[in-house]
């Protein structure tokens, strides 16, 4: 490995900016817990930087990153269950082995999805938007939201799921995500 120089890291930082959103979403789709997604994505970029001389520039950088991430997530299964950063062992096994997770991540540009999603969320009724914002922006779970919105946790889960399904359907009408 060549010594690190600022130019090298600068160029790599641009790649981080370009690929971070899609890579994080991909790692989440492998069944990694939300709070650990960024940690594993950072590890992926650290490994990629260390091995950058092994990368064939003619190939797809995003795909190479996803390969590294897939290995890191698979390694989580070897850890003690309490230390693993995944949602559930067997589910992660299933998602890591399942090819359609990769297909989902490669099918469409993250920026295109974000744009479509923002448009769809802007069309939601005020209360639905507020519920989404509290769930994601404030990172509050169903129990906390149930106190704020005076609903049972199960009713909150159902409402959120209806909103999510509506937004997903709306996004699919705006981008070719099949």
């Amino acid at each position: 490995m060549t010594p690190l120089d600022p130019d090298n890291l600068g160029a790599f930082s641009e790649l981080v900016h370009e690929h971070q959103a899609g890579l994080r979403a991909f790692i989440r789709a492998l069944g990694v817990e939300t709070d650990w997604v960024d940690d594993l994505a950072q590890e992926t970029f650290v490994v990629a930087f260390e091995k950058r001389h092994q990368f064939d520039t003619a190939k797809n950088f995003g795909k190479w990153l996803r390969g590294i991430a897939r290995n890191l997530v698979a390694n989580e299964r070897r850890k003690d269950a309490r230390r693993a950063r995944i949602l559930d062992g067997p589910l992660t096994d299933y998602l890591v082995e399942n090819q359609n997770v990769a297909e989902m991540a490669e099918a469409v540009e993250s920026q295109e999805l974000i744009q479509a999603m923002n448009d769809c969320i802007a069309q939601l009724p005020e209360r639905s938007r507020a519920l989404l914002e509290r769930r994601y922006e404030a990172n509050e779970n169903a129990s906390a939201l149930s106190r704020i919105f005076s609903l049972s946790p199960e009713a909150i889960r159902q409402s959120l799921m209806r909103i999510r399904a509506g937004v997903k359907h709306c996004v699919e009408t705006k981008v070719a995500w099949r």
Partner: protein
Amino acid sequence: MNAEHFKSLLARVLDDELTPAQSVELIEWLRQNPDARVELSKHLVLWDLYSQQTRAERSATAFADACRTRIVAETDRLEFVHETQQRLRRSVKERGSSLDSRTWQFTEWIARWLPSPRWIVATALVLLAILALPGFLRTEGVPELAPVAGGRIEILRGQEAIAAVAGLRLQANDVIRTGSDTKTVIAYGREATRIELEPNSVLKLLTSNGGKQLELREGMIDAIVARQRWFHPMLVKTPQAEARVLGTRFTLTATNNRTRLDVSEGKVRFTTTSDGEAVTVTAGHSAIAAFNTKLAALPQTGSILREIWTGIPGGEVNDLLDHADYPNRPAHRNMLNTFETPVIQTNNYACRLIGYIHPPVTGDYTFWIASGSYGTLWLSPDEHPVGKVRIAAAVGGLPRGWAPPKPGYRYQMPQSPEVRLVAGRRYFIQAIEKTATNSSHLEVAWKIPGAEREIISGEFLSPFEPIK
């Protein structure tokens, strides 16, 4: 299972609340329904992208910053390992060729002139005996009460209360109790030893001559102890610990659930009563004996280091991190006794608060940051800066004291996830604020388990010192 049940399990996955039993059901359903598999993947991708957009600590900038920090740290570590391996190889090679014939001749010449080992041992034993003799002698000095300052002091001798007057000779088993506005000093004859008993304290003398033995039942003593005889150290017992002192200056504070030792000169051996675990506390360090607290000698708390850079354009933290003067050439350094800076009006200004956090109890902590402009907060899982991760960010600034947002202001949560910290350990922490124009301030608060949010007080902070 039906499509409706699948949706409820999907909601559980998206909220990180899936149980193992639900996972089994879900996998079975996914195997049988390729469409469900696609739906699950799409939802996970979509809602993670949304979370990245909305949670300040997950923003693209925050992520890229953390990534850069980790890459630089990892590269430094690899270079260090590489250099060390090379040095070791060089040193092994050099040693192989260095024992030439001249070295051997010199070694043999020395060996010829040295006396036999028997003589060396005998001489050493005689010297040791002479040097050790003072150690067996008793420490001089009988405890006396110095003038009393403030209100009343109670002295119990057996069942009898006696008057606390200056010059009173204290006896074994005397119990001295100071009031809320009273303090007193115990002096030991011609010895320079002085023990100041602070207000609201109770101290019992276990011996009155020879080695000094005291029991601090509650409150605080501030002690200057002259050099004691080796085999008669001064001993101070508390409900949780024992401090063994040969000659030093220290403060000992005992409450009903913990004892804290702060050493300002010399060293003190500090032993917990519950399990006999011991640690030597040297000058500038402190230790705490309490339930559920790891015993360790740590640098004294009370302040955190502030570093200021001026004349650096830009309003984002990266503008400081990328500057040639960062981190080694700040324009100004000083200590703060709480994790907050005053509000100032300034331009092209950056500030870093860097040090260690000392959690008082083991548990899950949440942190908050507020700043005049862009601010970020990093915490390490241990005392080493290398492992630090960004845990919260105030993107575009947040009002001092986390005042409620004004109408139309987009509310960002400058809040960390819950972080588990262990009492008795210290953790590296740093907060950075970068301001282009106008007001600058930086505050970090935490929520100690079972308490309310508060700005982190100096009591739980110590300034950064590079670990050797």
